[in-house]
């Protein structure tokens, strides 16, 4: 049985990670998981929020948003509505936590890095693409900060790499990296964030139709770990390529 787009259940969509997409940001990536395209920038500023001043420790945070026509039907802008929706809040927090999981605040020093993940086109898995791309932008921003001596020589704020993927059960079959049409039909939907060494940073599973059994959970975790490992390889490849900016 093949999937909507011809993939096997264990197969990621074509993933591309283009660095240097912005002339202004300290790190910037256009990441695509199939038709899902997220523009990730990392902005470095000296200093930290007030509540952290004098601690000698840095801070990393993230904001996620969708362009109004990233989806099939145009959505109202949150700036126009005057309030950020629950989904946006939730995903921004998830991205922030995921990247902070591989940050050594002491090594970062009193610097702040903000990751902005703006979805240009959505086709399922926007939050996992965002985390995967934001990590690469973050890594470039750290390199930039090293070069500018904002981070002391010999200190490495990154304690590992991090990537994310969605998995789900569709028609009883566990699938990796759901596109939108699969996501809509999924009985169970899970987003998994892993470090490069295969440990978990976040596991968020939701029963969409039916509660799921322990076995199903295990199958999904297997798929996700394999997917994240593959994404970690792609991140590494992207980061070792020359950045012609």
């Amino acid at each position: 049985m093949s999937r909507i787009d011809g993939r096997t259940p264990q197969q990621l969509r074509p993933v591309t990670i283009e660095r240097g997409w912005s002339k202004h940001a300290e790190g910037s990536v256009l990441v695509s998981f199939g038709d899902t395209k997220v523009f990730c920038t990392a902005s470095v500023t000296e200093g930290v929020p007030r509540w952290r001043k004098g601690s000698g420790e840095g801070w990393v945070t993230a904001e996620y948003a969708m362009l109004p026509r990233a989806t099939n039907t145009r959505g109202d802008r949150e700036s126009v509505k005057g309030r950020i929706g629950g989904r946006t809040h939730e995903i921004s927090r998830l991205i922030g936590r995921s990247l902070r999981a591989v940050i050594d605040y002491k090594a970062l020093g009193e610097n702040t890095i903000v990751l902005d993940c703006d979805v240009l086109q959505a086709d399922g898995g926007t939050r996992t693409a965002a985390i995967t791309g934001a990590y690469v932008a973050l890594a470039d921003a750290v390199t930039w900060a090293h070069r500018r001596k904002l981070i002391r020589a010999g200190r490495q704020p990154l304690t590992g790499t991090v990537s994310a993927v969605s998995v789900g059960i569709v028609g009883g079959v566990p699938l990796l990296d759901l596109c939108y049409d699969e996501d809509v039909k999924a009985e169970t939907d899970m987003n998994v964030v892993c470090t490069g060494d295969g440990r978990f940073v976040e596991v968020q599973g939701t029963a969409e139709a039916e509660p799921f059994a322990r076995e199903e959970l295990n199958d999904l975790l297997d798929l996700a770990v394999a997917g994240c490992t593959e994404l970690a390889t792609l991140q590494r490849a992207a980061l070792t390529a020359a950045l012609e900016k």
Copy 2:
């Protein structure tokens, strides 16, 4: 090794579920998990939101909030700040999804039930106490709606029961139902929502300090399933007691 409050790692805090706490609401419960106290009301209204009209299906939603002095330090009211924070949004959505997982919309008919979960006193696990208590308030509201003929005789909108508990790894030891002081020290923190038959509705695990391994995840899930089963028994007991209202 015993815990801060003398419990074993597998032990829940003392749980109480008091029904009939409001003279106005169709279902109402004061639930406590140790010193965490959440006031849950279920409000039934005929009709559904506009986007669901004419579908013949009902709707269930939830809102979570904390009183300003529910915590050790007074927090500003979200009404005064003029915006709902990300954490509040996230938990409200979690509670809503958890309860919808055991609802048959067709059987509910075009009625809406809103669960309000207001934390009177917080000591860790407010979202899991809220889900556990809200289920009981929901069950009472369904009974009320049956009596008022809002739901047709012979139709049962509840397809099961649902309860939730937090688990976490503290000092390397997996613990059930963390109180605030444990939560703060947890390396990994997980909230698990289960149906009464031991299947999963939501699994949300977060690495607070260190990424966690598959094994640790498994230990935590074991603990959580046992805890939810125990909570399901307490819910059943509460619901079979006479409601003197």
Copy 3:
């Protein structure tokens, strides 16, 4: 002629004042006037708002709110609406002014006490119950601050006691402490805040249907003063009981 609930015109509803209802707050009270239940907490913080810094004087303020299902029909949360309504504003200001009327700012020193009055169940007279309960929470908070040496020994910030009651004319008869069903039918509605020695802190009378004559005003004031005196006795009794917290 007896009232809806069998009381005489001069009779208060059963009043209870339970102290120590929160393990976090410096003072906390669950006050009930019949079915009206308000949870009052007093939060002490060292320091004062910016505009008062260096004055050597303290500050006392209050916030009032209703849980969404405190009333017969569920109301939208003000946090969700993103703005505080006029009624909420008005009552919060009334409570703050009432308590400040018995505060000696110099004796309080540069400390701030915030009174939060959250209505758990509403049946008329929520603002008067809130003032009456908040005074007791405030007194406990002052005791706490004395013990912590935030207030200098020998200085008493409380210059008196304060309580409040509603009165109104229903069917031509002046009644004390209106419940919701009486309030709705009242031709004139008045909230009176008195000190323990029978003087006035606030008098707010409103003609709901017909303008009222001086005579009627006098009758209502007589009733209110008697009611407040009775409430002052109950406050004193509550405060002299041991607080087992």
Copy 4:
């Protein structure tokens, strides 16, 4: 002993009521109580708010605001702050209630009249000047609606007249119609709204420094009733003058 501005304790400031100040509004008045100047407009629209439709009854409501430099120090605009303050809310509600006290909704029919009271210059007593002026604008708007046949011939929505004045105790002496400098020093401050026949619509007394005794309250009410009676005469005079618009 004479007052700051040479008045006797029982004396109003010079009061002027200029009608026809706007070419657009159905009723419009520039009212001044000494240096306090309030621009009041009455806007008539056919139809009523949704919750009142089909009742056959009309609605009257009011909004109060201050221009940013109405006061000695410039205040931020509430439109810029994005929220209406408690004081504004409170006064808007007071003005609305006061005018509704002399309205027969049935006679008004399904029409809405909105009173806008914008303070151009403030020198104490802005809310009482607003009520006094708004009544005259309202009366003109009712005449306009009669002429346009929005109100049926022979029906009079106005059941009386209404005016308001502030009173207070300054240096132990009860004074009528406080200007700003007196208001700031008042021990007790009271706003009284009366109908033309000397009955009360609103009585709002506040102890600013010391709680006040029954006797003082009585003195203040005497002063206020006399002041309102005088204002009623001035309103009548203004309304019988020709409106050259």
Copy 5:
């Protein structure tokens, strides 16, 4: 062919500029262009916004608003809506830029002047009347600041005068200073801000119905420059008259 109100195409409406309209503001003007009436106040405060501190330079800014019944149909207050509309923002910014064009920040020193332009009655050209009136209020505020020694003797922050007028093409004819009824019918609408020596500060032309040709643009600019010159004369006359305040 004569215009709606009998003017020639090159004729301004009757313009009045009354100074000293507020007892509180450092400069204040009631300006009218026919039935358009705008109340302009200039508020001086020592100090500048944070981003300008220590620069030795001052700041000038403006806020524009309409009273709800300034227009033929009542508009909702922006304070009630909780947000400022695009039109308000746009005009406030235009007024601020126009006045800053004749300010020497160094000579002003670290003082801030805020111009508030509140439209009491609108009949077309409110933004141009506002700029014209605000300049006069600004000049009075500068005089005040000189007298108070906030501005150093011998330094003149005003580098020139500024006035504004609207022009438009109605029925193919270029007209000066459109009233509302003309504005509504205009094919092209232009607001022009000039200095007293006939140079341009702002030119904002908009095709309302048809795009306009270079020739038409030229005709409109000719009209506008002549109109501004006339307004500059009126401003000068107003400012040389004695201010009896």
Copy 6:
């Protein structure tokens, strides 16, 4: 004398117009004017806003926004601030007016087209790039609507083409299409919107440092008209190329 980037005063930056950049939107364009990159989508929906229903006429509107790191320093998101700034409002309104200038509402029928212009990277001239790109997206959306029979065969809602360019005086020299570094130094700054036949839709000139003379205005208009003509040619070329989507 050559410019910062080597251009002559009369030279546009390299302009690219890529169509089909979104798989969801009915029209979509990535437009670049040098390093300024704006993503424009056109979203078609059947029906019109309430105030236009039953008129048989369509509606076109626009929203402009910047990604937080489109600029050299990261800006806070307007969704997070909870309000749209004046600059955003102003530009959104300008884009909307500009495109409506070439729309025949009757021919469009009761359909709405929303243009979203999101700046991915800013280097001066974002509003003019947005208008130029949005026109192309609009043209594609009209074609789409024709194919879907939302617009009747034989009716052409586009009455012409529209493009925009900035001009300014830098160091006394009139320049076409300012980049950011030129814009910052400009004495006068003007945005001009023209139709393809060289007539004006909008002319917005602002003196940044010095008021400008009629002559300078004329020079700038000459430059702008030539620039818009060139842009119109590029738009035509882009639209005649095959859209491989």
